[in-house]
């Protein structure tokens, strides 16, 4: 006779679970640091300033630098790549100087924006001046360049097989790449720690699911504990 899962899995009641949770000590300072880390990394400057005043938790970074980073991000997201390039070069000229892939992607995005605006001649000139030389040195760049320039062959590039390049998500991708580079240059982590902790929670629950029945958190946004005794 085969044993069913219910026979081997342990069940932990909600009361017992809550008692175990209550015994775990979490320090308020650690939670404040997590919140501040999230605000600072995601660029919520005003919120970070207020949180700093109210909780006395240090931001750990220059908040003026966050403002710069957010302005740069906004510029990319709105398609003003030239502005973004000028600002990032003012902030730290080493970023685009030393990161060739990022520099290429910024110029590529500029090309996409010129194509979007229908400025075909300028687009071709831009491709020749800024994208063709790195394309000669690197086959991966050449492939991306060819893909991007192909947009010019279509009357409506947003309906072409390469429509993903014209989509807003492409700007988002470039913006995120630039944002990560700026964070790295400021010796900050590229992502806040909070999502990592939540991922750990989800992973731990998945592991625990194979071993016992317990009060799960099913909604991370409203983290109430389910009752394992209720069906």
């Amino acid at each position: 006779m085969a044993r069913t899962e219910a026979w081997t899995k342990k069940t932990v009641s909600k009361d017992d679970w809550e008692k175990k949770l209550a015994a775990v000590k979490i320090y308020k300072e650690d939670m404040n640091k997590l919140v501040m880390n999230f605000l600072v990394t995601e660029g919520y400057v005003d919120a970070a300033e207020v949180f700093h005043k109210e909780s006395n938790t240090k931001p750990g970074v220059d908040l003026a630098a966050i403002t710069d980073r957010m302005e740069i991000r906004k510029a990319v997201q709105s398609g003003d790549i030239q502005q973004a390039i000028e600002r990032v070069n003012d902030l730290n000229p080493e970023i685009l100087e030393q990161q060739h892939e990022l520099s290429f992607h910024m110029q590529q995005q500029r090309l996409i924006e010129l194509i979007r605006q229908g400025r075909t001649e300028e687009a071709l000139e831009h491709a020749q001046e800024y994208l063709a030389p790195p394309g000669e040195d690197d086959p991966a760049f050449l492939e991306e360049l060819e893909r991007t320039v192909t947009l010019l062959a279509f009357e409506d590039a947003s309906q072409s097989p390469l429509a993903d390049l014209m989509d807003i998500t492409q700007r988002q991708k470039t913006a995120s790449e630039l944002n990560a580079a700026i964070l790295s240059s400021q010796c900050q982590e590229k992502e806040p720690r909070l999502p990592t902790l939540l991922k750990l929670l989800v992973w731990a629950q998945n592991q625990l699911d194979t071993r016992c029945t317990y009060p799960r958190i099913n909604d991370l946004a409203a983290p109430t504990l389910t009752d394992p005794m209720q069906t």
Partner: protein, 653 residues
């Protein structure tokens, strides 16, 4: 396009400030990250014009933009770097570092960093007293961004500075103090500070000692072992290694602290070995750690370091074109295999000997030396020696011995060969039949004691249990009159190995006759004369006695009579020696001289017994029945049997 660029360059000389500013910003934003644009503007002679703008001290924003542009021109492009240096760009940047305006200072520092990153091994401009002072003062600037960039500049300068400059920097107490302070910062200054410290402490032990004056040096450096960036972790390991190598450090900080540091470094270094691209020097730091601490060797063994290292050795792509990395791997293996037989076994099981054999022919001399050290260590293990494929190894080893211009490497090859020939007939044949044998003999005439000793040792090992053909070859290559002065060499090690050579030679079959021919009958008198001098060291005495014992065993009755006659009294005297090895050896001589197993000449054996008896030997032997050594007591019983009865069978030694 060129016309447009020319127009921008022309605007650099406009009388209108905002025009100049706009032009320099345009150039800056075009050239950053773009080599072809840089080249175009260099051809249009934009660099000197931008450098001129650096001198407009009153206009901070213009200077900031110009500094960034100059730095970008120099970065990643040799033409740009040369153009910047030729236009005096570096001097003007250094001047700008002294500005009162922090934004100018930061821009100038960033630009200098880019210039020095492009300068290869030589900084384009040596920092003189004032500039250096200014840079050092900026390490402790109130603005964290400024101090961070200043530290990065210093680290970059250190990377292309020569030892003299590093030593000068290391003497400044403000440098150590500022850098140690920056280790606890949470920004980019931390990585740059530990990088600069790793370079400065490598050049100066006083710098390493200064670091330990900082109250939290241990905590600061140990926490950097967990830094996000592998390069920072390695730099922290280098600093800690250098600190642990400082003279008298154990007295200063205690053995427990040193051990704590070592234990923290080891797992980090073992992981860093597998980091791609970054870390050529990681294996060398690991090697230094293993050399400093037997406890760390054990810990490395427990962490399966041999498997890690041999895996790296098998993957050519990890060390191709990275001789420093490959050298470090081989040296680390050499240390582990030298002191741990398990390491040798593990190494051989992973079939790595072929890689080491190939490394013996590497184009880099340090890699060859490291491979040789590895072979030396492996061949020191008898268990390993039997499994070493001599056919693969002997040709490159002989090439190292014969063709190496570097004396150190040749010496290392000699020592490895000495181990290889000890127990392997094929290796002996290889050497005896090649130019390796005359090369070893030639090295006996070197003025260097250590190398002479190694050469003699190699020949002694070669002759040990060797075939008659090998013995003949050796005796032919090393005539008696060339050998005999070595028995009186000024160096005790050379003497010792020379007598060892004689002893091994004497152990062969028909050795007595061969040696008599080789020496023209002078061998035994020479040995006895040496024995009769003011007491020779115990180990030499033992060699001499066993030589005589072996000659007695393999020689004719005339040979035995000669030995008994010339050396009988001396041998009897040595029965009283305090060293058990001497007493045992003396007993063997007596046994072989008094053995009557040869039925052709029992009378001659009896005559020799009577000779010994007349010297009071029998009484002494009876006393020795109470000797504390079992080996001695057993030999004494046999000898007394011989004295009472001549039918005992004594085998050759």
């Amino acid at each position: 396009m060129v016309a447009k660029q020319q127009e921008v360059v022309d605007r650099l000389r406009s009388l209108d400030r905002s025009t100049r500013l706009k032009a320099v910003r345009e150039i800056k934003n075009q050239i950053i990250g773009n080599k072809s644009k840089k080249l175009s503007y260099i051809k249009l002679e934009a660099v000197p014009r931008v450098v001129e703008l650096l001198q407009e001290n009153a206009d901070a924003f213009l200077v900031v933009q110009s500094a960034a542009t100059v730095g970008s021109f120099a970065y990643g492009l040799e033409d740009g770097f040369r153009a910047v240096v030729a236009s005096g760009g570096v001097q003007h940047l250094l001047h700008a570092v002294s500005s009162q305006d922090n934004t100018v200072v930061e821009a100038a520092l960033r630009a200098l960093k880019l210039v020095w990153q492009s300068s290869g091994s030589t900084p384009p401009h040596q920092l003189d007293g004032l500039n250096l002072e200014r840079l050092i003062s900026l390490l402790s600037a109130s603005s964290t961004k400024t101090s961070e960039i200043a530290t990065q500049v210093l680290a970059q300068y250190c990377q292309c500075a020569n030892m003299e400059i590093l030593a000068r920097l290391a003497q400044d107490p403000n440098v150590a103090s500022a850098l140690m302070q920056l280790l606890v910062s949470q920004n980019g200054g931390q990585e740059a500070a530990v990088t600069a410290l790793s370079l400065l402490t490598s050049s100066s032990s006083s710098m390493a000692a200064q670091c330990t004056a900082h109250p939290h040096w241990q905590h600061s450096l140990l926490s950097l072992l967990k830094h996000l960036k592998p390069a920072a972790r390695l730099a922290a390991c280098v600093c800690l290694r250098n600190i642990c190598l400082t003279p008298d450090i154990q007295d200063k900080v205690g053995a427990t602290t040193i051990e704590t540091v070592h234990r923290a470094m080891l797992p980090v270094l073992l992981k860093l070995l597998h980091m791609p691209a970054v870390l050529d020097t990681a294996p060398q730091v690991l090697t230094d750690l293993l050399q400093q601490s037997p406890a760390m060797q054990k810990a490395a063994m427990d962490s399966d370091a041999v498997s890690s290292l041999t895996t790296l050795l098998h993957h050519e792509q990890t060390w191709h074109n990275r001789p420093c990395f490959k050298e470090g791997i081989l040296r680390a293996l050499a240390i582990l295999c030298k002191n741990h037989s398990d390491a040798c076994t593990n190494f051989m099981e992973r079939a790595s000997i072929g890689q080491v054999a190939r490394a013996l022919d590497d184009s880099d001399v340090q890699v060859r030396a490291a491979a040789c050290a590895c072979i030396q260590s492996l061949s020191g293990s008898m268990k390993c020696l039997r499994h070493i494929p001599m056919a693969e190894l002997m040709p490159p080893m002989l090439r190292l011995l014969l063709l190496q211009p570097e004396p150190e490497l040749q010496h290392s090859a000699l020592k490895a060969l000495s181990n290889l020939v000890l127990d392997t007939a094929s290796a002996k044949d290889n050497v005896a039949q090649s130019a390796g044998l005359p090369a070893m003999v030639q090295m006996l005439a070197l003025p260097d004691d250590e190398r002479r000793c190694s050469a003699m040792w190699a020949l002694a090992n070669l002759i040990h249990a060797a075939s008659p053909a090998v013995c003949d070859a050796v005796m032919a290559a090393l005539p008696w009159n060339q050998f005999v002065p070595l028995l009186q060499d000024t160096n005790s090690c050379v003497q010792d190995k020379s007598f060892m050579f004689m002893r091994n030679l004497a152990a062969g079959r028909s050795a007595a006759e061969c040696v008599k021919q080789w020496s023209g009958g002078s061998a035994v008198p020479a040995l006895v004369a040496r024995m009769q001098e003011l007491p020779p060291p115990q180990h030499i005495l033992v060699h001499i006695l066993y030589c005589l014992s072996n000659f007695a065993s393999t020689g004719s009755e005339e040979d035995r009579d000669a030995i008994a006659s010339v050396a009988g009294e001396c041998i009897k005297a040595h029965l009283h020696h305090e060293g058990v090895e001497v007493r045992t050896a003396a007993l063997w001589v007596i046994l072989n001289l008094t053995d009557g197993a040869d039925d052709d000449a029992p009378d001659r054996a009896m005559k020799r017994i009577q000779q010994f008896q007349s010297l009071g030997t029998e009484e002494r032997l009876r006393d020795m029945l109470q000797d504390m050594s079992l080996d001695v007591r057993e030999r004494v019983s046999t000898a007394l049997n011989n004295f009472g009865c001549t039918s005992s069978d004594n085998s050759e030694f």
